[in-house]
Subunit: 430 residues, 2 copies
């Protein structure tokens, strides 16, 4: 029986998971592929670190050359993370005709298109389904299952840490800092949570999904990113009283060939499928012209779900090797990169203002909005926290981002407006 | 540019959808595949029927030979339905080395394994992702995306008609017959709704999913099927007061190499992801050993979602033709067909009894259950509709089907028991 030899870069929790999944599903893999998969070398930082898995010491090395220059290795599985050094390593591997499976969304969001093209030029595969929503085969579904559709919009909860935090803040009324600490203690948040909390991790994943869905080469810099750090319990409560739940949502949409990608706190109707996705779970909602709404739901991360996605990708790579059909998973972008400007981005908005509570205030404010043709679906006015102040909470009809920004700028210049407390996108309803 | 020629069998709503999707996505398909797809012939019953789509009259034929024996045709798309005659036609097509894409779950549930083997022997592909939950790439996800996992359980809402009926009965308190009529008027139910309402349609789809998930050749006859016709508003209300929603759920599970597949009305906790799937939508919940819970949600049928799934399958067939890798999508079953017997099927149950309301009744009943080691999580006793009667509503802990059936048989022999009103499976909780 033919053997395919794998070099594994990284032996953290995901790498250990890959070793376990390969071992536990050996028979299944052999049956399906008609060949064996064998780990040849594992790249680690420390040969002597105690491991959760029994590993042949001869497999371990601290020298990447023993993997990427190794004539016996057919496929590199990259689960060590990092961007620039890892990119150089994978470029070398591809030039040495090694196929690649990676879970590294940071790398793929920055260098993905170059790596994919290099792979194709070398007749190699590079698969990365594990990099977005580990337990959900979303990349495969976008590139194959929905291949014949025109995808108009993707909305995703693609970061488990922030969804966990938003769930606890919403359901238990706890403040951000306390929930973050809990999440760190439970292992749902990193010691340095910046990349999750600021929305960068989600932005990387949305870049990958938008590229595939819209067949366009979008860059990480094209994503408008706002994190969840400033969301308060009052925001959540006002949203709730108006029938909404606040989630960190990545949205990618396309209209007349122009794309828009953002990651930002978003108010969704409480019964929207994404509003019901709780805790560390991920979900990706896809709207296709023909298929209508579909949603994919599952664990976003975790050692075993991610390892399973990696081994499924590995099985596809091996199948292609066996059939002589490698190097055909990547398709060049079909469309030119075109982005909407602020006057082409339409959305509803939730806005909270603190104002002086005196006669004429409300009219001054509505004047500003009507100057910019902004109209409202819902308006609440309540006594402010401080004597002599009031709070105004509004949900606009669909307006352009240009209209929104100009209105807010002009409002902040009014004497009666003490401050703009917060404003968020509203989506998921007609 | 190379051209792939397609023969389309059937030009109903789905067939018309296929023609439209192929036409509207020509550029996208050419870009992705590097070749053109052209319809060569369309098999219809009536050449002169008015159509919703502009069709070259020369494409139409009433003679199947012009498709299956046509040397110019590479791929047959079968969307005409039917079982035995259609099977013979597809067998001929395969023996003539034509690849097949079909949306016909009735056919695939009965003859699928034989057709898949025949395709493989002829180095042809036969793809059928459109046959289950049209808008959801679930077959692809089970066979590729989750290929490296051990799938332990699938729970599916795979019939839109019955889910629509159950939703209306639950949310609007309407009786079965009225909702069925409404569904027929809206086109969500067939004029003859038997196959949907009795659960047979769902059973066919669950057979296909279970075969793939468990890598075992299960037959339609292996599925225990109960429909929704006998569910009453009282069942729904009692379920609701205990925290459950009733849905028609297909369940396939495997334990120690033995499988179990059923389609039956099932009580799910109100916040279970499947309980939240409303109206004609479908969803398939998959539990894998490594991946944990994932769920796929989308439209179950409809002309365009199904046509999209068909064209996505067609694109895979064409890709395989171009790469010379046809005939490798099917994998022989890995495991012997083994089924659980009644003593190996464990579940919780919801049971309603009408009893004589006199001293000692309750004890007689609980005696029967305790003789069979059946214990309860929840018990309600209420006055019956008739004077001197009472109703007992119970939810058992997990017991075997053997225990359940023996207890119920013995209960029905008791003088104090007037009748067993209903009993349903309870699932989706620990």
């Amino acid at each position: 029986m033919q053997k395919i030899h794998v070099g594994l870069c990284g032996l953290g929790t995901v790498g250990t998971g890959v070793v376990n999944v390969l071992e536990n599903h050996q028979e299944q893999i052999k049956h399906k592929l008609g060949c064996e998969i064998e780990i040849e070398k594992i790249l680690v930082n420390d040969l002597d670190k105690p491991r959760d898995v029994v590993i042949d010491r001869a497999w371990l090395t601290t020298n990447p050359d023993e993997l990427v220059d190794n004539k016996d290795i057919d496929v590199i599985i990259e689960v060590m993370g990092g961007i620039e050094d890892t990119n150089k390593l994978l470029e070398r591997a591809l030039n040495n005709k090694k196929h690649i499976v990676t879970a590294n969304k940071d790398l793929m969001a920055v260098h993905g298109q170059k790596l994919l093209r290099l792979a194709k030029a070398n007749k190699c595969d590079i698969l990365y389904d594990a990099s977005v929503a580990g337990g959900i085969p979303i990349i495969r579904s976008l590139s194959d299952g929905l291949a014949s559709d025109h995808i108009e919009k993707i909305m995703g909860i693609v970061n488990g840490t922030t969804n966990y935090i938003m769930t606890k803040m919403t359901d238990e009324g706890l403040p951000f800092d306390q929930v973050l600490q809990e999440a760190q203690a439970l292992g749902f948040a990193e010691a340095d949570p910046t990349s999750d909390v600021e929305g960068l991790d989600a932005a990387r994943k949305m870049t990958l999904l938008a590229n595939l869905a819209f067949k366009m080469e979008l860059h990480l810099e094209d994503v408008d990113v706002t994190g969840i750090r400033d969301i308060t319990q009052e925001d959540i409560n006002f949203a709730e009283s108006l029938g909404y739940t606040i989630k960190l949502i990545g949205i990618a949409s396309i209209h007349e060939g122009k794309a828009e990608v953002s990651v930002e706190p978003t108010l969704l109707p409480k019964d929207h499928p994404l509003a019901l996705v709780k805790n560390e779970f991920n979900a990706v909602y896809v709207h296709g012209e023909s298929v209508g709404e579909t949603m994919f739901y599952g664990p976003g991360a975790g050692s075993l779900p991610t390892a399973t996605a990696i081994v499924s990708d590995l099985m596809e790579v091996v199948k292609n090797i066996r059939l002589g059909s490698s190097g055909n998973t990547y398709v060049d972008p079909q469309f030119e990169r075109l982005l909407k400007d602020d006057n082409e981005k339409f959305t509803r908005n939730f806005i909270r203002l603190e104002v002086n509570d005196k006669a004429g205030t409300f009219q001054e404010i509505t004047n500003v909005f009507s100057n910019h043709a902004v109209s409202f679906a819902k308006i609440l006015q309540l006594p402010g926290e401080e004597e002599g102040t009031a709070e105004i909470v509004m949900v606009t009809h669909k307006i352009s981002r240009g209209q929104l920004l100009k209105s807010l700028a002009q409002l902040e210049e009014l004497d009666v407006v003490r401050r703009l407390i917060s404003h968020y996108r509203v989506d998921g309803e007609e």
